[in-house]
Amino acid sequence: MSPVYIARTSEVAARLLGSEMMIMSARDSTLFSLNETATAIWQAANGVTPLSEIVERSLCAQFDVDPAAALRDAEELVEGLAKHGILKLSDQPIVETK
């Protein structure tokens, strides 16, 4: 299976509130609140680190979770965020073009 790369889009506003990340999509003014684990994935979404590695480093190392289950959950999460346009997904590293 090819690796999944994730990157934050520039079309959002985001701020950490306590341990949760608030994200506002400029596209439709939808507001999201990410829990602690989703926040860890969001913060690590630099476009060049594969999702599996993010899960391993940012989730399994910090939270007591089963790696396979965590990866499945993470894939579901990033697909959902991508549908709302607040995260980019690719099977190649995502390089910022700006």
Partner: protein
């Protein structure tokens, strides 16, 4: 969504985070609106580096919603540099402007910034009325041209229609114009005093019957007039009043002037510190004035805590009360609004009427001897 915003706001308050800030970039303006409360001369605005540093501090303090306003924000040559910096820091940015200086290239740049929204002042759909208020010939034409450029690019535009005697009859026209160009529409029936305390511009406020008309217009209320104008539910219970806060000013919101002065709100000119002398977060957390504002609950308001409107139909602004002389007192403008809304006088109105009748008695006796005047006043009390 409103539930989530409320949840965020509650959490920010618990954590002591200034969730939202309005930063005025300048008081200079290319319009001279008859109702404006600002002094348009530049008395030493923060420079680009100072504003960028302030934005860095605000982001670190947890500010999420950032409103950039003025004056006319585009009077600053570094306007785009500032907004671009703010967006790099991931603020949710809203702009307030008259948009007169927005042409195709500016609209392109604004589109690229992925802003939350651009709020644009529109006073009338008729140029002769709008331009007479802004005192800038051709301003409506230029503003609406800019609105169209922004909407074409997918930028969310909100019309802000401040109501005055001069333009009251035109608000349905502005509302229709907003719908035609694809903008949202908001209305503000409150003219606020000048920042130096001069209250003469309050004469521009619409009349009571006009305000009644607004409060019974379902097309702008967002709820039914019956619900909006329902009789007040009585004063809050004592235990609730101890927990209820007057508004978000100083709790999750504050205002910073172009000179770096920090206030609890744009409409609450209580100086709490200056970011040129102290760090933003230190002012927010430790200023004695901010701490005092934060300490006030509804139970600390001697008049309003007993008012029948206190349970819900009151929109009391502590800043307007402060400008009337007491941040714990009623705001006569908001008392008027509550009265017009429900037909029931507020505690503040009853007290003022009582005070007027006492003053009247003193005046009637002014021809009598000082002793008898004092005696009659005592009888009144």
């Amino acid at each position: 969504m409103i539930g989530l915003v409320q949840e965020m706001s509650d959490k920010a308050q618990r954590l002591g985070i200034p969730l939202a800030v309005q930063l005025d970039l300048t008081y200079r303006c290319n319009e001279r609106c008859v109702h404006c409360y600002l002094d348009h001369d530049d008395h030493g605005e923060m420079n680009t580096a100072e504003i960028k540093e302030l934005l860095d501090q605000m982001a670190a303090a947890g500010v999420f919603f950032l409103t950039l306003s003025g004056g006319e924000i585009m009077m600053r040559r570094d306007f785009f540099e500032i907004v671009e910096h703010a967006r790099r820091l991931s603020f949710c940015v809203k702009l307030k402007t008259n948009a007169v200086m927005v042409r195709r290239s500016e609209a392109d740049r604004l589109q690229a910034l992925a802003l939350d929204s651009v709020q644009i002042s529109v006073y009338s759909h008729r140029a002769e009325v709008h331009d007479a208020i802004t005192k800038l010939p051709g301003s409506l034409k230029r503003t609406i041209a800019a609105v169209r450029l922004l909407v074409e690019r997918g930028v969310k535009v909100i019309f802000a229609n401040v109501l005055m005697r001069e333009n009251f009859q035109d608000y349905p026209g502005v509302q229709a114009l907003a719908a035609e160009v694809g903008a949202e529409f908001t209305i503000d029936p409150t003219i606020t005093p000048m920042m130096d305390g001069d209250r003469s511009i309050l004469n521009l406020n619409i009349e009571r019957a006009q305000l009644q008309q607004v409060f019974r217009d379902a097309s702008i209320l967002g709820t039914s007039p019956e619900e909006f104008c329902a009789p007040p539910g009585g004063p809050p219970a004592a235990e609730d009043a101890q927990k209820m806060l007057p508004c978000s000013a100083g709790h999750t919101f504050c205002y910073v002037s172009p000179y770096g002065d920090v206030y609890p709100c744009v409409q609450f000119p209580l100086p709490t510190g200056n970011v040129r002398a102290s760090r933003f977060l230190d002012i927010w957390k430790h200023s004695p004035q901010m701490t005092e504002v934060r300490s006030i609950t509804i139970s600390d308001l001697p008049v309003c805590s007993t008012c029948s409107h206190g349970g819900g139909s009151c929109t009391r602004c502590p800043g307007l009360a402060y400008m009337e002389g007491n941040m714990r007192g009623p705001s006569s403008q908001d008392c008027e609004k509550s009265f017009v809304r429900t037909g029931v006088e507020t505690a503040g109105m009853l007290i003022r009427r009582e005070a007027r009748s006492i003053a009247g008695l003193v005046q009637i006796r002014s021809a009598a001897s000082p002793d008898s005047r004092a005696e009659s006043l005592q009888n009144c009390l």
